[in-house]
Amino acid sequence: MNLNLDYSLLTPEFCLAFLAALVPALDLFVPRVRKEWLPYIAAAGLLGILGLSLGWMNKESDFAGLLHFDNFTTFFRVFFIAITATVCIASDQFVRERLRHPGEYYGLLILSTIGAIYMAAARELLTAYISLELLSFSLYVLVSYAKFDARSNEGGLKYILLGAFSSALFLYGMSLIYGTTGSTFYDEIAASLSDGTADFDLALLMGLVLVVTGLGFKVAAVPFHMWTPDAYEGAPLPITAYLSVASKAAGFALLLRLFAGAFVPVLEDWQWMIAGISAATMILGNLVALQQHNIKRLLAYSSIGQVGFMLMGIAALSDEAASALILHLTGYVVTNLAVFICIIQWYNLTGKEEIGDFRGMAERTPFLAVALAGAFFSLAGMPLFAGFLTKFILFQAAAEQDFLWLAAIAVVMSLVSLYYYLMVIKQMYIVEPEEPGRLHVPAVVNAVVFALTVGIFYLGIFPRHLFELVDNVTGFLFLS
């Protein structure tokens, strides 16, 4: 076998690893006054690496058959680095005021980004597994980072136990797939499945079930979602934000690569499974969200509901559905980041996180309130905002593959989601504030929120560019 071992392909990740070491080192060795610069140093480093990664645009190459570098990988590289940079900036005040050891915090965030990127790039089962673990281990630590908060410890413990359990299932599933197809490389699995050398027997089915279960845990699909609300509630708020965007997006990038690259020849055999999980996820996530009082738990369940929508894109796997899925994923990430940054800032100002504590937000921080309301409307799928278009395209793509019933459930569940978002908007706009007076929001937060809001409108009103981009990106998935 002639392996391409061109290490230069991995340059952005080497840089990320260096940055992940540099930030804690700065924290250790430079005087205390510099600490508030850490998130900005991390963000600046990340943005530099983001620029560097753009150099791989429209190039195609692979590293030893394990990692594939095409536009799909480049897209997610840029995507994840941008997310981490945003979360770093959003963490600034929160980490300074409420957490210890900021250096390690930012270092771990950057490390997890490497895992996320390789989840999107991997075209071999074990590589995918190791990348997934790199992401997960960083997050296990980060979720329990609020050392003296019992909820954080509880959330972290739940997350690590269930995470380890799901990793075991994932591994076992892989071994079964390896046993029936004789390979761990996606393209060889696909070849073996399509030319029938692998009998579609119970072992392969079992393997698929276990892989779906393991990944279902990671993206928080029902019935493997139990850890989500506790981990979301316990984790420091910026980490909750990171969990709800990056770790989900990485899970879906992996799912797309895996199912489009390896399992597409036996589409009919797993489609029903994903469709069922998708329906259960969106129904349960959205209905349980109705009952929540805590904003983090509300967003945990609403993100479970969103996972249900995204799984439609896997169930209806095709070129169109894959691009629709990434389109929706991008819109969701931009919107959810805006939601979380508003909530982090509100928490920084008031120290409260119950839904009732958002009362009078429109009086006290008008700009954040507008942005948050807009982002909620986007999540609920109202027009002008990104959510309307991305949901429309995603649901239509599912309907194209004979999943009209799934699209119908999704539309009804979007309606349900509107209700609980309106409950928060009611507190913000209709209920009087506890105490009057404007609160001061740092300019950098306003700027980031403004940029994300512009992004939400841009995707909602001029989606053409992103849609064409993701359509190009998904073209690389179905080579086999």
Binding site: S323, P383, F392, F395, Q396, V411, L415, Y419, F467
Partner: protein, 501 residues
């Protein structure tokens, strides 16, 4: 083709106006008012121009056409996948005019809003933009886009600027009403959403362009299966019984201008949708289901009228009378004959103006008296003569007095209904009789009769309210005296709807 920019302006002026309003500091309340009035006036002017420049009998199905490519040849979308395709036909033109009139009148009567008036106008213009968009879109995606856009600002408009209703035994809060209205309307869009997915997949031509989809022959079973989705989905917004309960609650809780636009224009989006998506897209399905709509529409008329009779609150009475009058629209559509459908569209216009006037008047009295209990008043004609006259004109139009617009519209509906379903025609006339009961009783109790000394301090309406009311009355008279102006526009397009004969 350049005239198409007029339609784009109808959508763009309020949207960009709203954007521009965000730049005005909210403490300059008068600047906000003048700027908003300017936007309202320019919309009114544009709408007037479009209505009168629309050329009857020039052969084109749509005029003022404009097409901007939005997304094409990506994913499942083919050439012209989603385009901002605008145009009006003989039904769209009067509807655009209606929204222009009621929107402008709404801006005028909102002059006295003081609390966060900038935010109010921003949301109000988003609402108007959505409504104009629905009446002018010829693309299924954008049609639905604007349909949802019109619902988007409603929660805040009612929740922040609305009023709660206090009854002897319970309180119907504005938050409740706002939520009910929004959830009902978005729930109504659920079946439309599903219907759109199904139509796009079934047509399999890779475009959401409506004229292109009209050319597709859908199988009969498909049409019968999916027509009810559009019927019920749009019906919710049109106040179709038994999905009408959001309408009285929502319209009563809403601030005056929003009630005017919502009852006057937004409910027409539902009826407009039944024509655009139902009758034009799935004609065989329409033919199959129309008898059911006839039954439901007649129920609307009778049920709404009886409920209105039972109200002692001005605004609830007007709210239920809207449910009743929307029933005539549905009956007219259900006849599937030219005169009936003509009547339905005429009624859409007539009811829009008339109910706008009624809500404006109710708002005028409530802001002074802080009660809407009609039995608490008496002899108001003594110190508010103009107010009484305006209200009386609206009432008489509502009960179908010849010479006013309501007569023309209802007459057409009844003639159409008698040709197809005589029994329902008779029931419709019964509804009109009940309307006369509650309108005349209301006029007698509140405006005439002995003067109630408690209200001796009430003053005449503000000049802004008078101006807004006069504008609406002008069009009530115009349609009552020159119905041909409207009928010419409408009948030409109605005859082109498949299945109408």
């Amino acid at each position: 083709m350049s005239t198409g920019y007029m339609l784009a302006a109808l959508i763009g002026v309020p949207l960009f106006g709203a954007l521009a309003l965000t730049a005005i500091p909210s403490r300059y309340r008068d600047v906000v008012r003048v700027f908003s009035a300017a936007i309202g006036f320019s919309l009114f002017g544009l709408a007037l121009y479009i209505f009168f420049a629309y050329q009857v009998a020039n052969g084109d199905a749509y005029q003022f056409e404009l097409r901007w490519d939005w997304i094409e040849n990506v994913g499942f979308l083919g050439d012209q996948g989603i385009t901002l395709h605008l145009g009006v036909d003989g039904i769209g033109a009067p509807m655009v005019l209606l929204n222009g009139i009621v929107g402008f009148a709404g801006v005028l009567v909102s002059w006295k809003i003081d609390y966060r008036n900038k935010d109010f106008f921003i949301l109000f213009f988003v609402l108007l933009s959505g409504v104009f968009g629905v009446f002018t879109s010829l693309d299924l995606f954008f049609w639905f886009f604007f349909y949802e856009l019109a619902v988007l600002p409603m929660y805040l408009l009612i929740g922040v600027w609305g009023t709660s209703s206090v009854f002897p035994t319970f309180v119907r809060t504005k938050e409740y009403s706002a939520l009910k209205l929004v959830m009902y309307l978005v729930a109504g869009s659920v079946p439309i959403f599903i219907g759109i997915f199904a139509v796009f997949v079934e047509a399999d031509i890779g475009t959401f362009d409506l004229p292109a989809l009209y050319q597709v022959e859908f199988s009969e079973n498909f049409q019968k299966a999916f027509f009810p989705l559009f019927l019920v989905g749009c019906g919710v917004l049109a106040g179709l019984w038994p999905f009408h309960t959001w309408s009285p609650d929502g319209h009563v809780a809403a601030p005056t201008a929003v009630s005017m636009v919502h009852a006057g224009v937004l409910m027409k989006l539902g009826a407009f949708g039944i024509i655009r998506l139902g009758m034009q897209l799935l004609p065989e399905g329409a033919e199959f289901w129309m008898p059911a709509l006839m039954v439901l529409g007649t129920t609307n008329v009778i049920y709404g009228a009886i409920s209105a009779t039972a109200q002692s609150d001005f605004k609830y009475m007007v709210g239920y009378s809207s449910v009743s009058h929307m029933g005539y629209v549905l009956m007219g559509l259900a006849t599937m004959n030219p005169i009936g459908v003509n009547g339905a569209v005429l009624q859409m216009f007539s009811h829009g103006i008339m109910t706008g006037l009624m809500f404006a008047m109710v708002g005028a009295i409530y802001d002074q008296a802080h009660t809407r209990e009609m039995t608490a008043f008496g002899g108001l004609v003594k110190n508010m003569p103009r107010f009484a006259a305006y209200f009386a004109i609206a009432g008489l139009c509502s009960l179908g007095l010849p010479g006013l617009s309501g007569f023309i519209a209802e007459f057409n509906v009844f003639v159409g209904t008698f040709r197809t379903y005589p029994v329902f025609g008779a029931l419709g006339i019964l509804g009109a009789a009940i309307t006369a009961v509650y309108i005349l009783r209301m006029l007698a109790v509140a405006f005439f009769g002995p003067f109630n000394e408690r209200w001796k301090d009430l003053k005449e309406m503000t000049r802004w309210e008078q101006a807004g009311g006069a504008l609406l009355i002008a069009f009530i008279l115009l349609m009552g005296v020159f119905p041909s102006l409207f009928v010419d526009h409408i009948s030409e397009t109605v005859l082109q709807i498949p299945g109408v004969s």
